[in-house]
Point group: C2
């Protein structure tokens, strides 16, 4: 089992990038089937709904060779466990890994003519097109295929994973004989012979699991329906996979069982179309009682069948129309970029859990990289996108952390904290799953990152009900860790020792600036929350304080520690030191590092990397963004200049942050260049590992790059503000922001910025320092764009 974050992996030289994908604003379109890019495109064409994820493999099953394809079907947060074994053990190391399972492939369907089963790599593919339509949410594939005997067919399929029906997916498979009349067979079954990728020595892959993790506990095969019941080996969850097929377009269809499915056969006239609709449901005991999974899956199927595929497709389009109306980021003047931006938003929507028990994995539901784990990526990268476009999803993400509090408390005890809660660095169901603590558990900043997202949520929604119900308890319990691990030095400064900041090329240091600054924010916020709660909701305050044993002295200790927090600053250089010792280290010898030695982690021992002044990703620079009003513009300029020189951006979480801060300090060229490195990262496979899954944090970084970056949006104690600029390469861009129930449209072009209140009674914000208030009477204003 090898779990290096897979942005750190070697370039896969034999995976083609997708220059063959046309730059279309609302679509991703393949016009030929190329085995060399199939693996990558399986990821790109993944469909999901926050729970189910179906990789974009062919309907007929994967066509590529082993290691060149991944028949992946995932359920966000549906996991098994395995013990973590260390070659040299120590107390308190993460003991159990949770990993997202590859579940049975229920979408398999294939046409058979004269005993020849259609596959993209057999017979002759005469014509081929596949489209992912970001407005309809469907993947549509049209193929013309000639059998070895010269019979030609058209096979047209459509696929969807229903946004409005958590447990349902559906597909349409239509076969038309083009130059013959005769028998056509369609086989539709469930492929339960699936396993997770094996790790071996390959650092790109997730799990050490060998063999099947799901044990069959029952199956029912009806006339046209199948119910498969399974149980996970260690975690003990039940999974029901159910399918039901409906055929049409042929006069007398013969049906016979075929494995976990059926074969449908009909005699067709030339030009007649034989259509199969397959409805799929997955239900698991993560959501319901084990015994309810089968019945629930059947009920969902029945409802889907009753509605029919076209109705599901209409539902899907309507859902997406609503989404794009409130979330779309449009960019004028660069279709490829526009495509990348929307593709990223679409995948975020497909990947994010909405039920309070699931979250958004580093790879969404598109692949097994990072084993389906959730990281701080959620709070710091993904959360703002949903907060400002789908706040109910943002709230569900916070609820997920609330549900994780009991395990975070347990973990805190294991880490010798007598009180408080420490969130796991990587997890599915709340267990710390990081098997390399120097770049895992040591990243205590996860606690502050969660608190930061709650602070942002409160600023954007004013939803103090949530605070009273859940948010305050998270913020208070997690804040306690800082006074637990921190201490005052002889100069009376509050220090936080022996942690790792966001930059994973530096580990186990003292006074990481990011961590200290975020901890200061966190403790101040915790004290504010406690006091506001006491004032406004005394009963809630009393209940929480009693439950967690909070007293005034502790609140006072947070204020004091915040006030005394040490942020290491180098007077000679005029910059914030990443940590106490960062500036004393030797600069990395970039001049003598060949390009093939990046990412460094794959070519240098951690000690070699840790010994040098070199960053994998934004660290201080991220603090400049998140705590924007705590740093002067001059600080930002100097810090940016310094850290840019020592940062490799080996992490996909880095470029978007540098783009945003470059915008703030007025470096338009760098802002644009860094943004472009993020926006099509997956579409262009620039990190060379998208075949194993998309990079959800970088996808969200694209949204951040537009809103926080080019539009200069910030929301903090100083209020909501914008400072839009327009890159020379674009003619304009536009996005929307939801704040406190109001929806604001922001449209920037060369001459100015239009702010339009689309919904809600009023919205107050600033434009480049000028306060603006829009309301029903004055719902629009145009401001000059700064240059």
């Amino acid at each position: 089992m090898t779990r290096i974050r897979d942005e750190d992996t070697e370039v896969e030289n034999d995976i083609d990038n997708n220059s063959m994908l046309a730059a279309e604003p609302w679509r991703i379109r393949e016009t030929a089937f190329d085995p060399a890019s199939a693996f990558l495109h399986e990821t790109l064409f993944t469909l999901g709904n926050g729970w189910i994820g179906l990789r974009g493999t062919p309907d007929e099953g994967t066509a590529g060779a082993a290691g060149r394809t991944l028949e992946g079907t995932y359920l966000n947060g549906f996991y098994d466990t395995e013990p973590i074994r260390y070659p040299e053990n120590a107390y308190g190391l993460a003991r159990v890994n949770e990993f997202m399972l590859n579940v049975p492939n229920a979408k398999r369907v294939a046409a058979v003519v004269d005993g020849e089963r259609f596959a993209l790599d057999s017979g002759r593919v005469v014509a081929y097109e596949r489209t992912l339509d970001l407005k309809t949410g469907l993947v549509v594939r049209t193929v013309e295929w000639e059998t070895r005997g010269g019979k030609r067919l058209r096979i047209a399929s459509r696929r969807l994973v229903a946004f409005e029906r958590k447990h349902v997916a559906a597909l349409e498979y239509a076969v038309t004989p083009l130059n013959f009349a005769g028998t056509v067979r369609i086989v539709a079954d469930i492929d339960a012979d699936v396993t997770n990728l094996q790790a071996g020595d390959d650092p790109r892959v997730g799990s050490a699991l060998t063999g099947a993790a799901l044990i069959e506990t029952g199956r029912e095969i009806g006339a046209r329906d199948v119910l498969l019941l399974q149980r996970t080996r260690h975690s003990g969850f039940t999974l029901a996979t159910a399918t039901e097929c409906v055929v049409s377009g042929a006069p007398a269809v013969r049906v016979e069982p075929a494995g976990l499915g059926h074969a449908f056969e009909a005699d067709l006239a030339e030009g007649a179309t034989f259509t199969l609709h397959k409805y799929i449901a997955y239900a698991s005991s993560r959501d319901m009682a084990p015994d309810a999974c089968g019945p629930h899956a059947r009920a969902e199927l029945a409802a889907a069948c009753a509605a029919g595929f076209d109705a599901l497709a209409r539902e899907q389009a309507a859902y997406l129309s609503g989404f794009w109306n409130e979330a779309d980021v449009s960019i004028a003047g660069d279709d490829a970029l526009q495509q990348g931006v929307r593709f990223n938003q679409f995948h975020l929507l497909q990947s994010v859990g909405r039920d309070g028990r699931t979250n958004i994995a580093a790879k969404g539901v598109t692949g097994e990289g990072y084993e389906g784990h959730y990281f701080w990526d959620t709070e710091i990268y993904v959360f703002p996108f949903f907060l400002f476009s789908r706040p109910e999803i943002a709230r569900a993400l916070l609820q997920y952390r609330y549900n994780g509090l009991p395990k975070a408390r347990e973990r805190a005890r294991q880490m010798a904290h007598t009180k408080g809660a420490l969130y796991p660095w990587r997890t599915i169901a709340g267990e710390e799953c990081s098997a390399y603590f120097p770049a895992g558990t040591a990243q205590y900043h996860i606690n502050a990152d969660v608190a930061y997202s709650i602070r942002l949520y409160l600023l954007a929604t004013d939803d103090f009900d949530f605070m009273a119900a859940q948010g305050a308890e998270i913020v208070l319990e997690t804040a306690r860790i800082w006074t637990g691990i921190g201490s005052y030095d002889r100069q009376g400064r509050f220090c936080i020792n022996t942690v790792t900041g966001p930059d994973e090329y530096t580990a186990i240091v003292n006074n990481n600036t990011y961590t200290n600054a975020m901890a200061r924010m966190h403790m101040t916020f915790a004290a504010d929350v406690a006091e506001r709660l006491r004032a406004e909701r005394p009963a809630d305050f009393a209940r929480i304080a009693a439950a967690i044993g909070l007293d005034d002295a502790e609140i006072g200790a947070w204020r004091a520690a915040s006030a005394a927090m040490l942020l290491p600053y180098d007077e000679a250089l005029g910059i914030h030191a990443q940590d106490d010792s960062f500036l004393a280290k030797q600069p990395w010898d970039f001049a003598n590092t060949p390009s093939e030695n990046y990412p460094l982690l794959l070519h240098y021992h951690p000690l070699v990397i840790y010994r040098h002044q070199v960053c994998k990703q934004a660290d201080v620079v991220l603090a400049l963004l998140l705590l924007s009003n705590e740093f002067s513009l001059e600080d930002k300029r100097r810090d940016f200049d310094f850290y840019e020189r020592v940062t490799t951006h080996d992490s996909s979480l880095s470029s978007c942050i540098f783009s945003i801060v470059a915008n703030e300090i007025g470096d338009r060229r760098k802002a644009y260049d860094y943004f472009m490195e993020t926006a099509r990262l997956d579409l262009d496979n620039t990190h060379a590992n998208t075949q194993y899954g998309v990079h959800t944090a970088a996808m969200a970084g694209t949204w951040l790059g537009v809103a926080y970056g080019f539009a200069g949006m910030r929301l903090d104690g100083a209020g909501l503000r914008f400072a839009p600029t327009l890159p020379d390469q674009w003619t304009g861009y536009r996005f929307k922001v939801q704040v406190r129930g109001a929806l604001l449209d922001v449209a920037v072009d060369a001459a100015g910025t239009d702010y339009r209140l689309l919904r809600g009674e009023r919205m107050s914000f600033a434009h480049g320092g000028t306060p603006i208030e829009l309301d029903a009477q004055r719902a629009h204003i145009r401001m000059e764009t700064s240059q």
Copy 2:
């Protein structure tokens, strides 16, 4: 596989300490067989000769339950390999583990009467005594046993592992019917059904190996002899295990094959003694060609048989007489302590490799703890004992490091050093086997430790031939690492970042005082060696310089870095900081740490420990000893006082160093108390894990505690000197020191110290500051003992 250093393990509450072992100055003696202490006593009664190690299990095979006994037979440095697998991988981590194998038990012999096989836990043991005699080197056991049928026998056995015959062990097994006449059978065979201990979740044990690691490649069973040939699974070594039996005392002995051995049967008169001598040889392809192992073992056996057991026993006694004459440390006034001190010296002699390819394992050849690995323990703890008593063995230990240079160069390249050599933190044949780099590979001080031992060797022997042949190359190649990892800070101070010092409760720090001070010594010594070599042996210098590409600039860089070396010092406290950040950390809360929470490593996550001011072992305090003349007495006092308060001595390498420095600063009570914690550590099983093997470093620490501690001996650039004191608890003590071929006897009593030149032309040294020179004319002087 769990490889926490096993001094860090939990107290085994159910292993009895050996209060039943009488305090006798030259013997370890059991007077009853107690299953509860059998496991521990197996370790204590181990016999070895630096290559073979036979645990002190009964002749008949182990009698205890699984997990309560360990039938262990070891050959120092005879290992197999296994891949090291990490749950989260990174570049350059140790990839292959070398581990010492448990080899076939060739010493098994048992009496059988009426089909009843003698074992200590069956029938009735009427009388029992077992003695390890430190003068003869034999273990002698006498048992009277009664069968279930009431037949009583005396079984007397003697066992030895020949110091003068590397491949040979032998035993005598004599059976006497005491109350009957009749048939007695003696079965003597090889038990090849042995495996290493399995690790599981037990952190005390060494290896993840499952199943047998040795594959049989042949066997020859003769009339009274057996040859078993095996091959290791991965490392591919050949092992020949051979036995030959000679019986006497019975008129007509019937012989028949029995497994890998024979059964010898005779009809005995009451009171007649039937004696079997079993000669054993182990030969391996670590020492010779694979095909030669069998013939060599047979030849060794033939010679041993020809000599006979009594001759081997006489050889053994003669060898030990020579050893004790030159190495004995005697202490008057405390028999238990005297026993402990000699027991320790004896085990060191039994454990140390002498062939330049083997070294001394942390557990010697007495157990599998640390998998038979060699550590810095050799150079810093064990080496001085041999240097001053058996310098040829000390030289062989250095030769071992010379033979490890090619692998150390390879390792340096893996660690991104373009030149130089980096020794592995733990190894058998030179591969880095440390699977937890923060407390393994990060301990770069191993390089300086090796250089320190070479410097001491040169001071004690003046053997510059060795330097020209091997020593210089080691010192120069290893010194290069310091300029590789070190750098100058803005104040022009030479810094060494991102290393771990000796104290394993603090990891990955900058400017560890021990490391920096030792690196300074190392670079200065390297420059001195290079210049002396160039002056005295220009051809050797030219050869080495050409081979390793050494130039004057590099020598100059060592001088410069040494001169500019930063030793972190806290002016306010007046102490050396263990590293840049140690003093900024929170003190460990000792007051609220229950005693069962020691050793801390088994009860707190590494991050918790690393975050606090707490030491596992001597670190700065060790530097005060090793580089004694670089620190003032006042520095030593303050440093000792400070670090004593934060040191847990959870490592068995700690107390002896604190004892020595306590002596130097005049704290006689602490010097005595710390010494007593070391001297009987294994005999009294105070670390509660001696059942898994002795602690060779602590054993050597006992010698250091007498010579360096009570006698105040130092040898450095300022010459040899003593400053003896006498603990109130003793009436006197005496030890010998070999320097430059001369042998000095040092005898301390309440009134004074007698120095006596026993061999050699002259010896110069100082006594409490007074220079003394002894020679043939004036071979003795008595000096007043300081109080």
